[in-house]
Symmetry: C2
Subunit: 405 residues, 2 copies
């Protein structure tokens, strides 16, 4: 009895049969006495097909137009889902991101939600309508459509849940919860019954694809409890919430994440003057390029090499930006290495147990896995390894830290 | 040198190659020193495919959702066309109907444009952008998307031309102009170099598919001169304008139109009380159902049969409306006949030459073509005939009235 926000990904609405299944699930939630807002992604391969079409026409399409184009994918699935619900006898109304009041900045292709003007949503709920909202999109101040980047529909859902002060936010996906590590690599990986925002954020940031990091950030800052679960079963999945009692975790380590969609960018020969690094990372941030690991090393006195990782998609743009800055500040050159993967161990208890890092490096070394970059946060240790050693690294670490069933 | 509004139909943007060709044409128009606004339809079969998908899910989808769904077709082609223009080195910005300021009433699936708020259009032109507008759509007062019905992109184009006080409005289509009758039936049909708004309106209303009647109405009321021409050649087409000198027409008759997409609806046994017919046609108008020929006949004293024609798509809805009213007013029954066609002769000089009607009926009779309903306006005479006699009727009338080359 309350407001339930549900998010269905592209694989959950890939064809007519699946759309009907999702419609049934939504109608059942409504019949249990809830007000329902469902956020929906584009059907299956729609987005990929639109991208191919655009690339046939223009190899570097303007981002504004690309966002405009891609946003139609979610608008098709939202209308079809509303029709499906209507055919089951419930009233449904579909809303685009702009209609749902989702306001974003103007960074096309990876815009951030800045605000949700929720009166239309509230009115439609008061009129007893089930609301279907197109995920992955919002409206800029200039009344243009902007998309939220990969995994953006998760962020749409959590942001709407926060704006409506929803009682429940369910993220339906094609796996049945959050695992301690990738079950495709480690078949005995444990499903977590619950996980804290901080650990989930690290897992998401570090490559666990089940929930988008920005969605977790929004959930954390607004205290939205998320239930990650399968759209193909009624099993309980994983609850993401503020605090998870120690009892729920058997070991020090919550999970092991890996990310193959990562590239290393290095700028060599950066003069060591105050503010140079800040200038570089501000320029990248201005383009909404997410930087992950950063390592600075001095080869010669007063000359630094700066290396960082970012997503493979962003690598070329990041390198272009660095080259422009590099010319101005007299740096040597910029290289990209896409042949790497990032592997991370995550655990809230890590900081009080200082031997985690040494155990990690030792295990990898004993298995002949070479470590390149290293970075640490309060609850994670991440390393980059060669791409073809990623699986082996996850397997050996899962064994070492005993996070399997 | 001025503002040029161009409209490209679905067959002109059916694939990547055709989109590039349209982009070139637009860029050339710009390079000739013009400001260009192009209105674009959905690519080829997109709309039909979306309709099939919707019907798989819901046999009677809500019109609001259907409009929402179909409007994505034009939004895809507008983005792709903007990308294509960008690849040719000109700045282009695509705008949805709502973004272009096209405001409509709330009659989903056949909304009427009530106003165009043109500041965004004007700003983009001032910024030296080519504007691509999604045709066939606008925004209701409730900020929902509504589509303008069949041929709606023509109306979008003419309305925008009127709002911007454009110097030229070009409608690009897959034929090279307006013909005196259908060249597929009468191979020697004449291409008209110019035609008056009134004659064009009748031609369009009576089934010539080349220009939508509502577009002609808007053009007439705002004095927008339209150039109907082929998107596959640079030949001059047909100019639609206020007055056409007598010299331009060789005969009394401008053209012969026919329409197979027409159905007859009859309500039998309507009590002959004041206001009954008004009630019936108001109810149909409230649903934006366009009524064409109306014939009322009294079989028995104080009891009338009322017959009218409308488009085949609207026939079932019209009959449903009539049945509801029929129950209240005590009418007998309602029938639909879709097995008819409408054939019309059109000519500005008709009213001063009273023998046109008798020549028409006589010619049809001599050729054993049976006439059902008859209606006349100032410049037209229309009859309905059996569907399978439509071609023969057009051929014999073209010969009788000498409108071939």
């Amino acid at each position: 009895m309350g407001i339930v926000v549900q998010k269905y990904g592209g694989s959950s609405v890939a064809d007519v049969e699946k759309i009907m299944r999702v419609a049934n699930r939504i109608v059942n939630t409504k019949k249990e006495g809830n007000q329902v807002v469902a956020i929906v992604s584009a059907m299956g391969k729609t987005t990929d097909n639109l991208i191919s079409l655009a690339n046939e026409i223009n190899s570097r399409p303007a981002k504004r137009e690309m966002d405009r184009l891609l946003s139609t994918g979610e608008q098709i699935s939202m209308s079809l889902l509303a029709m499906a619900i209507d055919s089951l006898g419930e009233n449904a109304v579909s809303l685009t991101g702009p209609q749902a009041g989702i306001r974003t900045d103007s960074k096309y292709s990876k815009a951030k939600i800045v605000n949700i003007v929720s009166n239309r949503l509230k009115n439609e709920l008061e009129n007893d309508n089930i609301i279907i909202v197109a995920g992955f999109q919002g409206e800029t101040e200039e009344h243009d459509i902007a998309t939220l980047g990969r995994g953006g529909s998760d962020t749409s859902a959590v942001s709407i849940a926060a704006a409506l002060n929803a009682d429940l936010c369910e993220i339906f996906t094609d796996v049945d919860g959050v695992y301690s590590c990738d079950p495709r690599i480690v078949p005995k990986a444990k499903k977590l019954s619950s996980v804290s925002y901080d650990a989930m954020l690290e897992l998401a940031l570090l490559g666990a694809k089940v929930l988008h990091p920005r969605a977790v950030e929004v959930a954390k800052s607004h205290g939205v409890e998320i239930h990650v679960r399968s759209s193909f079963s009624h099993d309980i999945g994983t609850i993401v919430k503020k605090e998870v009692s120690e009892m729920e975790h058997d070991g020090l380590i919550t999970g092991i994440a890996h990310d193959k969609n990562v590239a290393k960018v290095v700028i060599f020969g950066v003069p060591d003057t105050p503010g140079t690094a800040a200038k570089i990372f501000k320029a990248l941030a201005d383009e909404n390029i997410s930087i992950q690991m950063i390592v600075q090393s001095a080869q010669i006195k007063n000359i630094n090499d700066i290396a960082f990782t970012c997503s493979t998609e962003d690598a070329k743009e990041a390198a272009d930006i660095l080259r422009k800055i590099g010319e101005k500040i007299g740096a040597e050159r910029v290289i990209i290495n896409e042949n790497i993967a990032k592997v991370s161990v995550i655990g809230a208890g890590m900081m009080t147990h200082s031997n985690i890092a040494s155990r990690m490096f030792n295990t990898l070394g004993e298995n002949n896995i070479n470590i390149d970059l290293i970075s640490t946060s309060e609850i994670t240790i991440s390393v980059t390894v060669d791409l073809d050693q990623c699986e082996k690294a996850v397997e050996t670490l899962a064994k070492e830290f005993d996070i399997v069933e």
